[in-house]
Amino acid sequence: MFRRTASTSARALPGFGLTLGYTVLYLSLIVLLPLSALLLRAGGLGWDQFWETVTHPRVVASYRLTFGTSLAAATINAVFGLVVAWTLVRLRFPGRRLLDALIDLPFAMPTAVSGIALAAVYSPHGWLGQVLEPLGVKVVYTPIGIMLALTLIGLPFVVRTLQPAIADLERETEEAAASLGASRWQTHRRVIFPSILPALMTGFALALARAIGEYGSVIFVSSNLPMKTEIASLLIVSKLDQYDVGGATAIAVMMLFISFGMLLVINGLQRLASRRYREAL
């Protein structure tokens, strides 16, 4: 499968066989072998049973919730992440370094802790929950709570992929646009936005992928009602608890395909966007 196509130069570097061999072996042992166990176990169900499991109304409802809240969270992150990233790169203000350092925190915090903390703050008796409750806004135990948890865990991905892209923007292009009589808004829309769009999409895709699989934080802030607030990961766990390993693997495989497919599509779109941008220059 992997054969060297061309020697980069006459004085080729050593270590190709060793490093590639190790890479493939380690990849196979840690990732491919276990995942093939998953595929085979799900395959053992037979097509009919597999299809029945993954298209059951309750399961479909859980996909809708999982992908819906994940998309919403990734969109919120794309919008506010863009604002945050722009602020961090372009503006100078007191506390900027602190803000910058905090961005990675959701990545490092255990998801169960994030979930418990969000539930404590946003439940009707919590700090912010008691403010929101009289306004008729229920956060915890509703899809809004799930969205909030997914926004928290996806935040670093958007900001961190956007920061270098914004920093890379060439001021000359912006200045040129301005000197040609473009308004600031036109510059933003026609020049700045297209150039950071690929990075924004990468960040969006990463935040989305992370959100789809999330379990630890969501179970604390969701009411876990079948058909309403039950995410797909919870359904997998609950199938396992009912000794239905086959059903659990079927849903797992389905989710794996959907999220991998989404990643591929978004990566494709991103490549398209960056090519368009380069051609436009």
Binding site: G17, L18, G21, Y22, L25, Y26, L29, H56, P57, R58, A61, A119, S123, P124, H125, V140, Y141, I219, S223, N224, L225, P226, M227, K228, L234, V237, S238, L240, D241, Q242, Y243, D244, G247
Partner: protein, 356 residues
């Protein structure tokens, strides 16, 4: 190249060895092994469900003292707690449990059926269907009972929010569900359709389905959700003791279900490391006067109340109970009819979700 390949092979082997060999499964990370490993030492693993944490903490200490006195052997007891279904599945997948103390016989049945770890007639090996203690389902309400909840019917009223875990994943939740169903059967003269409608109208009032009994208790007490929590009596008494007698009170319904959490020795696991005798002594000690006393102190109804402290017994309200065997023909039937995928509970949830 061959040098590279052998290096590759040996480094891979080293990695695998590192992963399988030096794990603290029997190494540094376990405080239990620090206690001593000489001759005459035995380790037991008790795989249990959620609300027994406090009970077994005290019981294990008492058993340790007693067993050491009697046999001269020192014992270390490791505990694992979690939802009953999750725990049973972990044992099937390879957790080396020596003793099972789960919520429902059905889950131990599953282990016996799917593995050869213990015989299928495990439940007849100890007195009282292997249940050294029982409990029942009661209501936990806010202080002063503002919604006036007195019996099962009040749970089906409009405007009452009921907190109970998900019966698919929680043993306690299955008792809650069956208790309501059993009450309805009595009330409506064994009309299954009416019972189903009654249970459905209760679940219509459930805003949060927790994954386990503890999860639901925290939702009700800490997060302030709902008007009434369906809970095991032992869990409700413990919640009041630990989380505030000034905020909560117990309501005992006119009739409820007898919850029978069984215990069993996992013969094959225990025998594999010479702990069979200790494991058997462990479950038998639950039936001893001292064991029964501890059980009652932790809010479980002892099999033989005469051994318990009368003060502890006063905390249990008089309540008429029925059993799963009487009303539902045993756990396998109840499970298949109500809780398996596509069972009555699923159908009810589907209808509720579609607003029917």
């Amino acid at each position: 190249m061959s040098l590279n390949r052998s290096w590759l092979l040996s480094s891979t082997l080293a990695l695998m060895a590192a992963l399988s060999g030096c794990g603290p499964a029997d190494g540094a990370a376990a405080p239990s092994t620090a206690a001593g490993k000489g001759r005459g030492h035995v380790t037991l693993l008790n795989v249990s469900y959620d609300p027994t944490r406090e009970l077994y903490e005290e019981f294990n200490a008492a058993f340790k003292r007693q067993y050491e006195r009697q046999t001269g052997q020192t014992v270390t007891i490791d505990q694992s707690h979690g939802g009953a279904g999750k725990q049973a599945r972990a044992v099937i997948d390879g957790v080396k449990a020596d003793v099972l103390t789960l919520a429902i016989g059905y889950d131990i049945d599953q282990i016996a059926r799917r593995t050869d770890l213990l015989p299928t007639d495990w439940q007849s090996r100890l007195e009282n269907n292997s249940c050294p203690y029982t409990t029942t389902i009661v209501f936990l309400v806010r202080r002063g009972n503002p919604k006036g909840i007195n019996d099962w019917e009040d749970l089906a009223r409009d405007g009452v929010e009921v907190i109970t875990p998900n019966p698919k994943t929680s043993g306690g939740a299955r008792y809650n569900y069956l208790a309501a169903w059993g009450y309805a059967l009595r009330k409506f003269g064994h009309d299954e359709l009416k019972a189903r409608a009654f249970v459905k109208s209760i679940y219509k009032n459930v805003p949060v389905l927790g994954s386990g009994a503890r999860d639901s208790t925290i939702t009700f007490v800490q997060r302030g959700q709902g008007d009434v929590l369906l809970a095991w009596e032992n869990e409700a008494l413990l919640a009041i003791a630990q989380l505030g007698a000034d905020a909560l009170e117990i309501v005992v319904p006119s009739v409820s279900i007898l919850a029978e959490p069984p215990v069993a020795v996992v013969d094959k696991n225990a025998a594999s490391h010479g702990a069979l005798a200790a494991a058997q002594a462990y479950v038998r000690y639950l039936y001893s006067p001292e064991g029964q006393r501890i059980v009652a102190r932790h809010y479980y109804r002892p099999y033989q109340p005469r051994f318990a402290d009368p003060e502890d017994l006063k905390r249990f309200a008089k309540v008429e109970t029925f059993t799963v065997n009487d009303v539902f023909g045993g756990w396998p039937r109840a499970q298949a009819q109500h809780f398996d995928d596509g069972g009555v509970f699923d159908v009810i949830q589907n209808e509720l979700a579609q607003g029917r």
